[in-house]
Symmetry: C3
Subunit: 261 residues, 3 copies
């Protein structure tokens, strides 16, 4: 079994994703290709980084995770292949891998330079097809990572928005809005619980106050936002059977404040 | 061969579907996963039920059909696994399976309770990932259905809008609008033919009258709605090379009336 | 290995694509199905033809490319199966294959007529499910092309918009706009280079003038359109980190003019 996951900002409007799959299967007909997501906003590095971080561990050991969100394609930005205990990661070196690699540390980082593995002629605008897809295909066939280029010591790091903690409050923000309109904050379950310590608290978002955690969407009302720890372990603001993002007219970046009482 | 079909309201915007596929492949690397549809409107039980009903029989015998449209996730709603002559169905017990099971009767209904098959930690908001995907994966590996929980006798039933039949008229409604803007009614071919008996009839929709059945879209005009029996055997109103839904400004629920003359 | 690629205007809103995949796997459980694109505009023959032409060669030898953009479904238009040196192509005979077959010549053209391979009952509105998918599945299993019908000598041809060349100028047009808003012209790299011969030139689009070729998107400015030869070897107008289609308010058909100086 050789699984390759794909995460891009290509959308499914064009043939970009399909062509990458053709390229992979030409090299490794046994590859199983799984789409994580292709609807990342164009050049949305932070969004792609979050999606990768919350997805990679659900895949079988040995999976090659291929991420192509690449605003600098064709420039001098590096292309990297990272080996971890359980996975391979392949991406432009623009920080998109860093939140995932914080949880699954890099064992070996390779700058991809060996043109033997590139498609010819090599374009300057579609390295997903000409470099990343063929490299992922060869990795999935068992090619040793050091064949693809030289070892390097570090990769670019993308900082996620940080939570501010004071004695009285926790100040986070909405970093992701899902298809249902749920607002995912950057406050993880551990930070939240360390701060509230099972005592009374209030969650403030826009002009709304929520004073307890729900366990499920169905517990809430259709006209009153609720808060819960979501399936990826972050504090989330939601609305039963509706989009809280629409209901509150809230976008990414909106402050989420927790006060102890 | 072990095929798993997926039908959800998750859309492809997030990583939900991709993560479910990762979970499945971790358990059964041989699974072939086929997307039926992920664009069901959020909490769109009726839409999902119709799509399942018109899809399941086209899949190979032994396919596990996994449906996750689950507004009650995390509440006390049951989770069920149904064995029929040819298929397995896995879904929350909210009626979404019932139109399909009317055509392909249940042989065994299991309430899924065996936590051995669940992902840990178990979330309250993403049973698609933590319960339904792993159960489908184990089913596709040949695990006996009784391993997943206890037999129960019934499941929730979702009633589709009924056609009203009088001596002079058949009153149905638009229950689905496809990507091309075709209006699918709840009047099936048999009901239609029994009523019209090859005699003269008129189809009324909004302020339009159609007085015969076409055999294909191409037979029509680009400025005159036509009626035909569609590929899923329902009476459909359409427009050659265009969207009749836009043309007539018609939405789901619009009446479709057949009169005998 | 038996790969089938799919290219349709069905979108992913309905169950059409999923049902076709079920049909294929029922006939050939070993088939690997790859989506090239399903977001072709309804009845968008030219768009589908361009996507196929720029995709097919990236797939493994032996791939069956299945194209269903079929405004004439159910009418007397032919259904064809074409064998080339490396691939099979299956589509309605409406010209959608012709730009690809200009690059990969037909060796054998079969009019698909053998009902043995069709689903029964045969609908008049969904030949993708009832004819094209089963034929592709049987082709992918190695069935000889002459089993599907009789040899014919020609297929419909779809003319792509032509570039006008005078002594002083090259007049092309925008024929495709991708997800990023990049404007793909019908001026291919060879035509462009033969005309400019490394001399000074100007590219005119709407009220903008571009006077050199960039090598990558990242070379440009976020407020100044750039021109480059894209990954499919066509002259493309783009904007760094943005949509030049939105920026210039340009749609398909917009003139792209190159002047020599």
């Amino acid at each position: 079994m050789s699984i390759i996951s794909l995460l891009t900002d290509f959308s499914l409007k064009d043939n970009f994703v399909g062509v990458m799959k053709g390229v992979i299967l030409k090299i490794n007909p046994e590859a199983k290709i799984v789409d994580i997501c292709h609807q990342v906003k164009p050049q949305g590095l932070l969004e792609a980084a979050l999606l990768l971080k919350s997805s990679f561990r659900y895949f079988p050991s040995g999976t090659a995770h291929l991420v192509v969100v690449d605003p600098q394609v064709g420039s001098k930005r590096k292309k990297i292949l990272v080996k971890t205990k359980n996975y391979f990661f392949i991406a432009p070196d623009n920080g998109v891998l860093s939140p995932a690699l914080k949880e699954e540390p890099a064992i070996e980082i390779i700058e991809i330079t060996n043109e033997k593995y590139f498609l010819k002629p090599l374009s300057n605008t579609f390295h997903g097809r000409d470099i990343f897809a063929p490299v992922a295909a060869h990795v999935s066939k068992g090619e040793h990572v050091e064949e693809f280029g030289r070892r390097i010591e570090s990769f670019q790091v993308l900082e996620l928005p940080k939570v501010k903690i004071t004695s009285q409050s926790l100040v986070g923000e909405v970093i992701y809005i899902d298809h249902f309109g749920n607002l995912v904050s950057n406050i993880d379950a551990k930070t939240f619980k360390n701060f509230t310590k099972n005592k009374i608290f209030k969650v403030f978002i826009k002009d709304k106050i929520i004073n307890h955690l729900s366990h499920s969407y169905a517990e809430g009302l259709t006209s009153k936002p609720l808060a819960l720890i979501d399936s990826f372990n972050y504090l989330e603001i939601a609305l039963r059977d509706g989009s809280v993002s629409d209901y509150l007219a809230v976008d990414k970046g909106e402050k989420v404040v927790i006060n102890r009482i």
